[in-house]
Amino acid sequence: MRNFQKEVRTLSRVVHKGQAYDGNDLDPLGRFLVQTTLRHFFWLDLIARQLIKKPLPNKHHDLHLLLILGLGAVEHLNLPTHTCVNAAVETTRGLRKTWAKGLINGALRNFLRSRESLAKNLSDEPTARTNHPLWMIERMQRDWGAQASAIFSANNVPGPMTLRVNRQRLTRLDYQAQLMQLEIKSVPAVLSQDGLVLEQALDVAALPGFEDGIVSVQDSGAQLAALLLDPQPGDRILDACSAPGGKTGHLLEIMPTIDLVSADVDAHRLQRVQDNLARLGQADVTQCLDLTQRQARLGQFDRILLDAPCSASGVIRRHPDIKLLRRDSDLPALGKTQIALLNQCWQMLRLGGTLLYVTCSVFSEENVNIAQAFMAQHPEADLIPLPKVGVPLAIGVQLLPTIGAHDGFYFARFKKMGPGI
């Protein structure tokens, strides 16, 4: 009989140990359950707290997570209710807490009986209503006012699976036709001429030519980054924080004659860039570098793509664990890194060169505020206008996560000016 033991362990690593979600030891159903539970965690947690009158002591936090998973299963799995309840109850055996069988069973049945009133009790609870932590709610409302609720909604719906068709190999319309023959439906992405949005997510193994580098999986907003950098023939280009390598691969597909350095500070994550380059049939142009420090031997670049580390608040729908892992207090340190990276990249940019600053955040503090601080420090930085996409800001543009379309991204494009002679 199915149980949720592995799922409890996976969820516990996120909730109690603060580690990023890793569903490697789960089956597809388990991954779906944990991701969905993370997506709706705040609501489920507050429901669970109503169901267990006396709070469980700390040593039984696994039972609390089990109940949350059980609730998530009942709410979101396309399985008969009793199957979900039985799996949750069965899990107590694996946790060696069979004494809690009745507790879990009773709580879940209680939920099924009184779902409506339990949910109603939470209707004034902002964290339950939005399934976001309070600090994020306040920040989103401060930054986006009336648009905040649309952001919450978009964050709670899984993002579509979007492909990037390798334009060196075939057009996206040709690939779309190939997919059509396999009865895989897709529509051209609005933001990227290389993008196809799949109607339904599927395993990459089912995509013709994936292993041969004909297509990659990349959100259409993320595809905009390499397009906005506008690589020209023979340009020397730096992808400053390149892992997992989507933008690096796209740059090489757009302009194969560029001289690219694909750098990341994290050797482990850089391996994924190398894997992606190998799959695309490209040479390994990666370098493991901390670009918050001066890297004199790298020399000068014509163009630099800086997709800086950030809260990732624009990609919550793909990584719902962010809602539990991130803290408001993370932002100042991230801001320091963002400014340090901008300053070091700027030094490596030739006069007249282009720097594209990108984050997958929707928070002003990491986006327009950083761009503003950077421009105040560098009078020789000139803004290059961006095409009309997303929300135009004083500096740069913001894409807000949009159901059925792109993730949330910020873009600002600078040109390095020098003294006139």
């Binding site: 030739r350 007249g352 000139d382 390095k416 000016m417 020098g418 003294p419 006139g420 002679i421």
Partner: protein, 169 residues
Amino acid sequence: MTPTLMTILEFPDARLRTKAAPIKNVSDAIATLADRMLATMYEAPGIGLAATQVNVHQRLLVCDVSEDKSAPLVLINPKIVEGHGSTETQEGCLSVPGFYETVVRPEQILVEAVNRAGEPFQLEADGLLAVCIQHEIDHLDGKLFVDYLSPTKRQMIRKKLLKLQKLNA
């Protein structure tokens, strides 16, 4: 009194191709012109300006490569008598705004010129000052830094600037 600022011609304006005539007499008018050119250069902001760029076709250039506008130089009838070595610089130009390209020139130069008091002098220059003086003397000869680039690149810059000028007209 602050000197009146002058308009800087922009590539591909044909007047930038005029070869400037030597200055025979360093008059007060020349000194005033030098002051107006310095003010125009600082305002731009720039580190060098040739008379050709402000549509005066006489052999006069001004420059100041200091950070704090503390080293203005006026060179009348400048002439390079010696050049040594070679250096690559990303050059821009007030007459080609927004474009920077690599140009190779002698690294050290010896220049002869006349100052605003009408006295001849010699100047040894290297680094940015040497680049700047050579760039400005080119202007007096009707030459621009884009002339050192490939025809394709020059054509691309020309097209982009024409488009911008049309937009701003």
